[in-house]
């Protein structure tokens, strides 16, 4: 009875694997049961399971009871040995037979495409931006001065970090770059990307920037330097030749005689010196004084 039910649900057909740049996807044709949702489950078997683990199969949990007809098997096709894959359909409690790949799959047959690249000239620096294709990929980079194809420079990059610096180059020259990927795990390389050439601009703009920065620096120096010199001279002055200010209490008052002298009229000078006058002279002076007052 059970086997009759199983026979009702056909096994998935046209099971095939699409593998590009070490990413592997298993696909199959849908099993159509009107009014029912069909779910699919995928299992894999490596060479080890086939020959050393009693031909066992390992379920791929991400692809268990899924409704789509595609499964990413990249994680499990993890060694360069022949793998087998199988898919089963389920409707409720009813399961189909397993549908299996027609031919075993080895990841060394993956399609390797040339990488996408972007060549950049930044000042006198030649750089190349590489497409991130995952940790399995290394890049063989070839670059040369246009017209000098005989002296090609080589570089190998194992990990991509934004742009790869290739060389410091001559201005006003055309440089060309082409790149191929290499996958160590399968010892295979992709074709080279299309050659991309770029003219390394005369870095005049850089000079303008440098000149501007230098000018700004000069202006700054011109403003700051005198201030600094003044400040330093002040410091020297304070520390070497300090101006001593006596406390108020120690200040001696100015001599009284001087105070006396201040604002004294000419005529009064006589008071200072000893004048010996005759009575006639005294009278004469008195007359003079009186007259000047009257006037």
């Amino acid at each position: 009875m059970h086997s009759d039910k199983e026979a009702l649900l056909p096994a998935p057909q046209n099971i095939s694997i699409f593998s590009t740049n070490m990413k592997h996807f298993l696909t199959w044709s849908p099993v159509i049961i009107p009014g029912e949702t069909v779910r699919y489950s995928v299992e894999f078997q490596g060479e080890y399971e086939r020959y050393y683990a009693n031909e066992s199969w390992i379920p791929i949990s991400e692809c268990s009871f899924i409704i789509v007809t595609q499964c990413n098997v990249t994680e499990d096709i993890s060694a360069t040995v022949p793998y087998n894959l199988r898919v089963r359909a389920d409707v409720g409690t009813q399961g189909s037979e397993w549908g299996t790949l027609k031919r075993l799959f080895n990841r060394n047959t993956t399609l390797l495409t040339p990488p996408r690249i972007k060549v950049i000239a930044d000042g006198y620096h030649l750089l190349v931006e590489l497409e991130d294709m995952g940790p399995a990929f290394q890049f063989h980079i070839l670059y040369w001065k246009n017209g000098q194809e005989s002296s090609v420079q080589k570089m190998m990059v194992k990990e991509i970090t934004s742009a790869v610096h290739l060389d410091t180059v001559e201005a006003g020259t055309d440089y060309c770059v082409k790149v191929q990927t290499y996958v160590e795990a399968i010892n295979r390389s992709s074709n080279f990307s299309q050659t991309q050439c770029i003219r390394v601009q005369d870095a005049r703009s850089t000079w303008v920037t440098i000149t501007l920065i230098s000018f700004a620096g000069f202006i700054m120096a011109a403003l700051v330097l005198p201030f600094l010199i003044w400040k330093i001279s002040r410091i020297f002055e304070y520390s070497c030749c300090p101006v001593v200010i006596l406390p108020e209490t120690l200040k001696v008052a100015e001599p009284t005689t001087k105070l006396f002298l201040r604002g004294i009229e000419k005529a009064e000078y006589c008071d200072m010196s000893l004048c010996v006058m005759t009575p006639e002279e005294v009278f004469h002076l008195w007359i003079q004084d009186t007259l000047s007052y009257d006037l």
Partner: protein, 177 residues
């Protein structure tokens, strides 16, 4: 201004770029047998996924299977044979007796066992081309390893050998030139 800043940042990245450039051409080589199509880095990643679990499961901590004297100063010409037999031992005995405690662990162990099988196949090809011949020294070391392994019961020994794979990888790493 921005352009100049950009230039400076690239200059700072220069030492790194040189580092990756000079590692070019380092291939795994054992004696005269070159391991094409083997990424030790990849295999080590698989081991990292199970390392914690298998090393925790290992309860026998007073002994080491892959002792220093086994992998120290192996004659260059016999290193290929030693590796081939060690991998074969892992494939035929160690992985077979390891019962993964959960489905994910089983998948990760599968990556390792299939990778070992892949390297073993390459070494086998070298052997067929007489590039991986065995000598007395390799045989003596293998015998020492087997003796240690057989002192323990199958399951305990298998877990222990799995946890010690990093010792094996370290030795393989040294073969890079």
């Amino acid at each position: 201004m921005m352009k100049t800043m950009g230039c400076f940042s690239y200059l700072l990245a220069l030492p790194f770029v040189f580092a990756i450039t000079f590692s070019e051409g380092r291939k795994l080589r054992f004696g005269v047998c070159e391991l094409h199509g083997t990424s030790l880095l990849e295999i080590k990643t698989y081991f990292d996924a199970i390392r914690g679990t298998v090393q925790d499961e290992d309860r026998v901590t007073d002994t080491v299977l892959l002792k220093k004297i086994l992998l120290h100063n192996v004659p260059a010409l016999e290193s290929c044979c030693l590796l081939r037999h060690l991998l074969r031992f892992y494939v035929e005995n160690v992985f077979r007796h390891y019962q993964a405690t959960n489905p994910l662990l089983r998948r990760k162990t599968s990556s390792l066992s299939n990778s070992f099988l892949s390297v073993k196949t390459t070494l086998r090809q070298c052997h067929d081309q007489k590039k991986c011949t065995c000598g007395a020294e390799a045989n003596r070391r293998l015998e020492l390893f087997r003796e240690e392994y057989e002192k323990l019961d199958h399951d305990t020994a298998a877990i222990k050998a799995l946890g010690e794979m990093d010792i094996l990888f370290k030795w393989m790493e040294k073969a890079k030139n």
